[in-house]
Symmetry: C2
């Protein structure tokens, strides 16, 4: 871990939409004040032309890489990609990562204090969209004095935010890397999210979202996480990881304990998750993902609408075994980008690891991202 811990980072907080201002959300509701927790790595050039916004997936946070203290060995969620000498090289680029609006890792979300009532929001928190998350990130980027991002990078729900950035603020995004993502959820993806939400809301400790200070809906949230986990892995990766291996001995246990390795893995993932994540945030973030439809961000209608007038360069990456957001959904996106005459590179990476592949070491992904960033940085001088 020595090369990781050489990179000290600290969680910082940016608060905006303070009285008398408020953030106006896509729903028309208003929210304020709004805090985003964020971290940065690397140094912004004088030309302010090397900033890369990295956006986390559903349950991630601002801690993309580095460590908080020299003795802190907790890695960031994308150490494989971000750091000195990595594909997103922090010796070259200035990397920003913020916890998403609606999250529970320092940014304003349903577990935050509602200044009107003096109690946590719970379900009084307004429903958010992917666009609202991007609006909040834009305020942070403005605050940091960055006129134009070299790149916006993110996978999964983070990739949706990348797309919304490009549609909303094309003039601020030189390059975009949406990974393992989709322009909109299929009915099946909505269905999985809905069942996960139902599992949370079925937990009596959920109490209509008003559980702060008391027992939490841990059992429901664990089930929700387990459902998600199955969709993040592929059938093949589960076969390789677990097959039909039995946990303790070479015999069926004939009771309802976790007999198969895959069962105990899921239970472990579910139980670990509830320690770090807020159930209401899970509801809000999955709903925002379900609501996302790139066409809603179109200045003009039609499949190319969202990217009308854009000059952003794109690297779109999908993974063969990702059945949550299959390659075909990335191809739909690529076709829309090409119809706008945009500079698009597309790669489907062979991987057995399902949707989660973008978080796992991959030489192919590393070299694609590294080369793409180097090219756009070289080809697009500051201010252009």
């Amino acid at each position: 871990m020595s090369d990781v811990c050489a990179n000290l980072v600290s969680k910082q907080f940016f608060t905006f939409a303070e009285p008398p201002h408020e953030l106006v959300l896509e729903s028309g509701e208003r929210l304020g004040p709004v805090t985003l927790a964020y971290e940065t790595m690397g140094v912004l050039t004088q030309d302010r032309d090397n900033a890369i916004l990295v956006i986390h997936a559903l349950t991630g946070d601002s801690h993309v890489a580095g460590c908080y203290t020299k003795d802190d060995a907790r890695p960031g969620w994308w150490e494989i990609m971000v750091g000195p000498g990595k594909a997103i090289d922090t010796e070259r680029y200035f990397v920003i990562c913020a916890n998403v609006l609606g999250g529970c890792m320092g940014s304003t979300g349903p577990s935050s204090l509602n200044q009107v009532t003096g109690k946590p929001y719970g379900l009084a928190f307004p429903l958010l969209t992917i666009g609202d998350m991007v609006t909040a990130q834009k305020a942070l980027i403005d605050h940091l004095g960055i006129p134009k991002l070299l790149a916006v990078v993110g996978g999964s729900v983070g990739g949706m935010q990348v797309l919304a950035w490009c549609a909303r603020y094309p003039e601020m995004v030189r390059a975009a890397i949406p990974l393992a993502t989709t322009p909109r959820h299929s009915a099946q993806s909505i269905a999985f999210n809905e069942v996960a939400r139902q599992a949370i809301m079925a937990d009596p400790h959920w109490r209509g979202g008003d559980y702060y200070g008391g027992a939490k809906p841990d059992l429901g949230l664990a089930v929700a996480r387990m459902i998600g986990h199955i969709t993040y892995l592929s059938n093949e990766s589960m076969r390789q990881k677990f097959g039909r291996q039995l946990k303790s001995r070479d015999a069926l246990s004939f009771h309802f304990d976790a007999g198969f390795e895959v069962e105990s893995y899921l239970r472990y993932q579910g139980n670990k998750f509830v320690e770090r994540f807020d159930a209401n945030s899970f509801l809000y973030l999955t709903k925002a993902a379900d609501y996302f439809d790139l066409d809603d961000y179109a200045a003009t209608t039609g499949p190319a609408g969202a990217f009308k007038g854009s000059h952003t360069s794109f690297l779109v990456v999908s993974f063969t075994s990702d059945w949550l957001y299959p390659t075909e959904q990335s191809r739909t996106l690529v076709r829309a980008l090409k119809r706008n005459g945009l500079d698009v590179s597309f790669c489907e990476i062979q991987s057995d690891w399902g949707h989660d592949a973008f978080l796992l070491p991959s030489e192919r992904l590393h070299s694609l991202v590294e080369a793409f960033l180097a090219r756009v940085y070289r080809e697009n001088p500051a201010g252009e």
Copy 2:
């Protein structure tokens, strides 16, 4: 419904393993007395050579077709396939369908009275296997005086029982039609079942399975059913059925009600299911399906083991969009059958409707089953 209601059927009950006898289960546990609820259609020939055992899937029952009274319009679960002039023609064949052991539709299961305690079994009910279900069906077939079945037919978990029948009692099965099934669950299938079970066990009303007479774990069971439902449909069928259609109006609702059609469909399915099904039965039957491994029924080891010495004719059918038990799993089965030199027909039917396709009208399935049964009935005279 007139041609359906011309076929009156009645639910009958067969009880065996009465004191001093008991049914010895694969786990070594003993169970008794055991009741199977069953229904029959058609007339058994004097040669007793036209009996077809139809086996229902996970949550089905003995009511495969016909109606209980002339005014009763409730259809059976496989009206498309079973009845006069249907593929499984009850003017020609004598059809038997029993509710599975461990079920909750009249057969002995965890909701039945434990004669030792005078209370429902709950989790005191022993864990069952697919083989145990077949053992109970065998007792019923013996009771009905049928020396050899013309065919055993079933889809999904019913198909597993078809395979176990052929492995256990090859001399009693002339022909077998396993549909949309698998010789063993993948880690992913086990994972889905495990999360569904966790959803039930997370419901405080479950009370370790001891909920009879009080509030039932309906919320947990509804979530479990919703998870199952997603796996029974295909991504494509969900797209065709629901797409991203919104329920009430052409706008996002911005709250946690069921906004998308697919959400309200799932909630409806979940709520409807709890009215008719017992949560403990769901636990036991899914566990039996997870435990099933055709190799465990092998007289000799190796991929062909389970069918060593068999002379059964097989019609194996899979469906292109079934991602729960994909075609490749049927092919594995077919290879094992062929290695034993058995008479095997295999067909992968093109369908968008996922795993549930075997329950839906299909001319292809109809003609395959009809022709296969006619051939084996013609080619295998009674007593041979």
